[in-house]
């Protein structure tokens, strides 16, 4: 098999997504007047910056053979931590730092619980998602925390290069993750953890450290996404980030990351988030009800999971 054919075979999922994106873009450019404009492109990027951040973290977790269902709850609680101290008069850096530390701590707790108890990540993070969401409700009593300082809003959604700062943050996350995931031991071991954890352990690697680090990163990135959302909405509430982990999982699987771990695709994940954003944007421009958007996302996840499973079976047979 030639090098090009091998590359095409391994990148089949991202290449298919690129093709679907192009078809969507041509269709939406013909069907709507406002789609093909710089303003709309910026709008898509800004509306999906935090989704991109979450999906990048989720890609690492899924590549390591796990899953994190508590992402939305971590997002909500870390944003509430930041908003609470900001309303009490703390400086912006303190609020942001507190949110990031809280998010990382919650992610670390997830990782430690999975590592120590050896219980499936699905069950552990399902349980902690309720706990973290419950904490948010306990702190806020269900009342949104609003009217946050302008300096915080500037940090989370201020203008950088003509776009909201969230876009830059997402870009920085991707730029840092590329070497860490593809060219350093961390990413190498993370995918091995998903491929065959026993092989990694028998090679003398302390696998727990890498498992916990994937969840800690997911927690950190959830908190970062929480800061962006809170700044954009000027409000932190217990229901923020509800079901956002599903969008992230959907993007990761669509992007070609193996469903059971072992390999991950950062470019595929980025393109999948963009495609999902494109579909949301297109449905809005076509004046389709938001109720349908939910259905479309679910249908896309179903297609992606089926495609991923078929890919996996083909790989096993091959």
């Amino acid at each position: 098999m030639t090098t090009f054919k091998k590359w095409r075979s391994r990148q089949s999922a991202p290449l298919l997504l690129v093709a679907v994106c192009l078809v969507m873009m041509v269709f939406l450019s013909i069907e709507t007047r406002s789609f093909f404009s710089w303003k709309n492109v910026v709008n898509i990027l800004e509306a999906n910056s935090y989704r991109l951040i979450l999906a990048c973290g989720m890609m690492c977790v899924i590549a390591s053979g796990a899953i994190d269902l508590s992402t939305g709850s971590i997002l909500s609680f870390s944003a509430i931590c930041a908003a609470t101290v900001l309303q009490a008069g703390a400086p912006v850096w303190a609020g942001v730092l507190l949110a990031l530390v809280a998010g990382t701590a919650m992610g670390t707790i997830n990782g430690l619980l999975i590592q120590i108890t050896r219980i499936n990540a699905f069950i552990i993070t399902l349980a902690t998602s309720f706990m973290y969401r419950g904490l948010s409700l306990m702190v806020t009593k269900g009342i949104p925390i609003t009217k946050l300082p302008q300096s915080f809003r500037d940090f989370g959604c201020g203008d950088i290069f003509g776009m909201e700062s969230g876009v830059t943050m997402a870009f920085v996350v991707i730029v840092l993750l590329i070497p860490a995931f593809y060219f350093m031991r961390w990413g190498h071991y993370l995918t091995s953890l998903g491929g065959n954890p026993e092989a990694l352990k028998r090679s003398g690697v302390a696998i727990g450290r890498y498992r916990v680090s994937a969840f800690a990163l997911m927690g950190f990135l959830s908190a970062l996404a929480g800061i962006i959302i809170t700044a954009r909405l000027n409000s932190a509430e217990a229901n923020a980030g509800l079901n956002m982990e599903m969008d992230a999982i959907c993007a990761v699987i669509m992007g070609g990351t193996a469903l059971h771990g072992g390999s991950g695709s950062l470019p595929g994940t980025v393109i999948a988030v963009f495609l999902m954003g494109l579909i949301r944007n297109g449905l809005t421009l076509l004046s389709v009800s938001s109720y349908y958007q939910q259905f479309v996302t679910g249908a896309m996840l179903l297609c992606a999971v089926v495609a991923a499973e078929l890919r996996e079976r083909k790989r096993r047979i091959g």
């Binding site: 060219f183 031991r185 065959n196 090679s203 003398g204």
Partner: protein, 250 residues
């Protein structure tokens, strides 16, 4: 004090899983440069012994002497640092990764904080050539390789770091005749290069073709031990199957 030519000495190892006594006072010696085989029926304790020596299990009692060290039990990193290299029955390969990545798993060559893939590939090619394993495309995931090639990758990984002792758990299990033959040739080649090997197998003919010393295990005990030159292949099945009360030297 251990004899100069004895590289590993195990004394009185015991291991119990619930009400099952997997090992019951196992003692054995492995001589430098030789191939020592452990044979026995299923459930005789062979694999438990290999798991203890490779650091995957801790014994309940007994001791392991390797080099100048005496340990009650080992962890995997300890076993690796003491020069024990293991080829597991399931080969412990990451099927998503290619041969180079598998050979260097846990001991990657680095260039600063980054993986030095070029150097790893060069060294992997050399390692595989040394043990006469032909893999046409090193970038293909190991899932697509034949049983013999996968065994070759697992052995190359074990040999990648200098070691004193190579443990092999059923190295030809689930292999075809031709693949078994090439694997045995590979192991004979390693002996010629002075690599000490401890092989667990239930294939008696292979053991006789390859090993210098043989231990027979049954019900968690070593029931007989001898140099293969001092006994015959016909005596082994008798011992493996004979009742414990009748056990004796070979």
């Amino acid at each position: 004090m251990m004899n100069e030519s004895i590289i590993l000495e195990v004394q009185g190892l015991t291991k119990r899983f619930g009400h099952i006594q997997a090992l019951d006072g196992v003692s054995l010696e492995v001589r430098a440069g030789a191939i020592t085989a452990i044979v026995g029926d299923n459930g005789s304790g062979k694999s438990t012994l290999i798991k203890i020596l490779s650091g995957n299990l801790r014994p309940d009692s007994g001791s392991i002497h390797i080099g100048n060290k005496t340990c009650p039990g080992l962890t995997i990193p300890q076993a690796i640092s003491l020069g024990i290299r293991t080829v597991y029955q399931d080969l412990a390969l990451d099927n998503y990764k290619n041969s180079v990545d598998n050979i260097f798993l846990g001991s990657e060559l680095m260039q600063g904080p980054f993986l030095n893939r070029r150097a790893m590939r060069r060294e992997a090619e050399k390692l595989l050539a040394d043990i006469h394993v032909a893999i046409p495309d090193l970038t293909e995931p190991v899932a697509s390789l034949s049983g013999g090639q996968r065994q070759g990758v697992a052995i190359a990984r074990a040999l990648r770091r200098p070691g004193k002792l190579l443990l092999l758990d059923e190295p030809t299990a689930a292999m075809g005749i031709q693949e078994s033959h090439s694997t045995l040739e590979m192991l004979a080649g390693l002996r010629q290069r002075g690599m000490t090997q401890l092989i667990v197998s239930h294939n008696l003919h292979q053991v006789f073709a390859l090993a210098d010393y043989v231990y027979v295990m049954r019900s968690g005990r070593v029931i007989a031990a001898a140099a293969t030159g001092d006994t015959t292949a016909q005596r082994l099945p008798e011992l493996i199957l004979r009742r414990e009360s009748e056990a004796e030297g070979l």
